[in-house]
């Protein structure tokens, strides 16, 4: 399917995500509703992988770049951030390493136990 048509389907689902955010009183952003809608559409066969995968893969591959504007925005917030930047950065560094390690290890260990049980 043509690239723009694929992009249109993705935008339509993003728009439905925005509608859900406006209509439902939960603290969930449009993008997460959209992700759930896309998954549902794929699982029910309303949308097929071939209908969205080319535009989808392009968006996923360029995703890291999309964070640049917000990250450069640290510049604009610098005056508010500076007074507590030391403690905040230390908290982030230690916490992120521990969270990544702990959640990864718990998942890995649980998978091993389950595999042993199956055998």
């Amino acid at each position: 399917m043509k690239f723009m048509k694929q992009f249109a389907i993705i935008l339509l689902i993003s728009f439905l995500g925005e509608c859900a955010r406006e209509l439902l009183p939960l603290p969930v952003p449009a993008s997460i509703y959209g992700l759930v809608f896309m998954l549902t559409a794929l699982m029910t066969g309303i949308v097929k992988t071939e209908d969205v995968n080319r535009a989808g893969m392009f968006l996923i591959e360029t995703m890291p770049m999309m964070f640049i504007p917000a990250a450069v925005g640290i510049m604009a917030a610098w005056n508010v951030f500076r007074p507590i930047c030391g403690p905040v950065v230390i908290t982030i560094v230690v916490s992120t390493i521990l969270v990544m390690g702990v959640s990864g290890l718990v998942t890995q260990q649980m998978i091993r136990w389950n595999e042993r049980k199956r055998k």
């Binding site: 964070f67 640049i68 450069v72 951030f81 990544m100 959640s103 649980m110």
Partner: protein, 230 residues
């Protein structure tokens, strides 16, 4: 020259893409973990804007179109997730336990450092949503009475740091399973971590995408409980 740049609609996207390509090039050439393309591009742009005294708002006038694509890109994370749905069904208990462990670790470490650094209640609740995706994190911080700007800065630093450090963390903690890697990245470093997971492989990327949503929702519940402590 400064006026041309300040009034340009293309400058923001152009410098973002170019500096990111520069980052990719440097990483490929020198292969150091610290040479993270995202970090390089952020540093290059901040230096450029500072040296030429260009306002962030002028840069963002063009660059906002990159941010605009973030929602459709997040929606597309459902595609690799759908392709790995069987893996998710077979391992859902392990995946859920891993994400839950991650969320609790986030809350406990933030609490521990808040006590250590004598954070005020306001500063403490500002930090609680640091590992979740910006849109959920901002809303959560606001609701709990945090400083939203600093929450956003923390979320981004967390993501970029997680993206940078992942290879080293997985080596040190001996995490080899691709599902476990994806869950680790997604539950600690949200969408920016997921971008890294996508580079590692399809399974890692799919699992990390799933973690963004689940971590976000679990954090909303746990932050409400933890916010009462300090």
């Amino acid at each position: 020259m400064r006026d041309i740049i300040s009034n340009s609609s293309f400058f923001g996207v152009m410098i973002s893409v170019l500096s990111y390509e520069l980052g990719l090039y440097l990483k490929k050439k020198y292969k150091w973990a610290i040479l993270n393309p995202l970090l390089i591009s952020i540093v290059v742009i901040i230096l450029f804007l500072a040296v030429f005294r260009i306002k962030y708002d002028d840069f963002n006038e063009g660059a906002k179109y990159l941010s605009y694509l973030l929602t459709p890109a997040t929606v597309c994370l459902a595609i690799p997730l759908y392709e790995q749905i069987q893996l998710l069904k077979d391992n859902w208990k392990a995946i859920l336990a891993g994400i839950l462990a991650g969320v609790i670790t986030t809350m406990c470490t933030v609490l521990a450092f808040a006590v250590m650094f004598h954070f005020t209640h306001e500063e403490y609740v500002t930090m609680l949503p640091k590992s979740i995706t910006t849109a959920i994190g901002m809303g959560l911080s606001q609701e709990m009475g945090g400083i939203v700007t600093i929450t956003v800065v923390s979320i981004i630093i967390t993501g970029v740091f997680g993206n940078m450090i992942a290879d080293i963390v997985f080596k040190v903690f001996q995490i080899h399973n691709p599902i476990a890697k994806g869950i680790g990245l997604g539950s600690s470093a949200h969408a920016i971590g997921t971008a890294k997971a996508m580079e590692m492989g399809e399974i890692e990327g799919a699992m990390s995408s799933l973690s963004i949503a689940v971590t976000g929702l679990m954090s909303v519940i746990f932050a409400a409980i933890f916010a009462g402590i300090i």
